[in-house]
């Protein structure tokens, strides 16, 4: 597969995503500068973590105007797989590709640590290799991961199984103490209504190798690759 990793000024997990796809999963990776206007030839797209535009004003607020974002919208509209991790998730929210907004962490601190998330929907292109309800240990590293949306939208997310990951205890209970940032309904990741766009705060690329002592995050990437292999042909290079 040919996976595009979008590079915004200030992205800093771009090399990490590249490393996982290229060196761990032996895929082709194209680094896509944010001024590109086309995504032709790509099978899937990752918006990596980092501090695009320094996170000034609001996280993701400025990056969403990068020229590449129109191409990403087109790509998503035509069914292409788009995944935003951390800052990438924040950008997808600001760009309206996913619903809701991020508030500052309840603690007001940046927090970097392992957390556990429960797979709430294992029938997405990004979680196919997981079992429903499976608990994954994946690190977070953010200051604004406190997901918010209004009650109507939240009910919609719940009803459409758009909540993909929830913060939980190691044994899979969704509790207040397991919530590292105050996120509504312990939401750690959501998908679009159509299902082909995913945003998640935890960093699966940080737990995708044996040497790092944790391979849980790798499931997300292998799920993605698997569903790309199985997709109907018409979507190629959309």
């Amino acid at each position: 597969m040919n996976i595009g990793v979008i590079v915004f000024p200030g992205s800093n997990c771009d090399h990490d995503c590249e490393h996982v796809f290229k060196d761990v999963l032996a895929q082709n990776v194209t680094m896509v500068w944010h001024k590109e206007k086309s995504l032709v030839g790509l099978d899937g797209v990752i918006l990596p973590g980092g501090f695009s535009y320094g996170d000034y004003l609001r996280t993701g607020a400025i990056a969403r105007f990068s020229p590449v974002m129109s191409a990403i919208k087109e790509f998503a509209k035509s069914g292409g797989l788009v995944m935003g991790v951390c800052n990438g998730f924040q950008i997808l929210l600001e760009a309206g590709l996913l619903p809701g907004a991020m508030l500052r962490n309840r603690s007001l601190h940046f927090v970097c640590k392992d957390v556990h998330v429960r797979v709430e929907n294992a029938a997405t292109p990004f979680t196919g290799a997981c079992k429903p309800g499976q608990v994954l240990k994946i690190p977070i590293a953010h200051a604004e991961g406190n997901y918010y949306t209004d009650p109507v939208m939240l009910a919609g997310l719940q009803a459409n199984a758009q909540i993909v990951f929830r913060y939980c205890t190691p044994d899979g209970r969704v509790t207040l103490e397991a919530n590292p940032n105050g996120s509504l309904d312990n939401i750690a990741g959501i998908r679009s209504a159509e299902g082909n766009v995913l945003g998640m705060m935890p960093h699966p690329e940080r737990s995708a190798e044996e040497l790092m002592g944790n391979e849980d995050g790798r499931l997300i990437f292998t799920s993605m690759l698997e569903s790309l292999r199985n997709r109907p042909l018409k979507m190629v290079g959309a």
Binding site: L57, R106, Y148, D150, G182
Partner: protein, 79 residues
Amino acid sequence: MKAKIHVTLKQGILDPQGKAIEHALDSLGFKNAANVRVGKYMELDVSETDKAKAEAQVKSMCEKLLANTIIEEYRYELV
């Protein structure tokens, strides 16, 4: 013309920063401060002499960039 823009969290949205400041004020001995809310204040120059046009522009800046209307509201004045 100078635009003065206030962007604040919508009513009903929890403001952890405001809460933290309230708490800090309290422990500094300012017991009678309450309901602290924190927002952003921005100033910028608009090189436009027609007030109506300038207003339209600033409104559009707010809608597009300066505020996230899912969680924030904004107001502005031009001087």
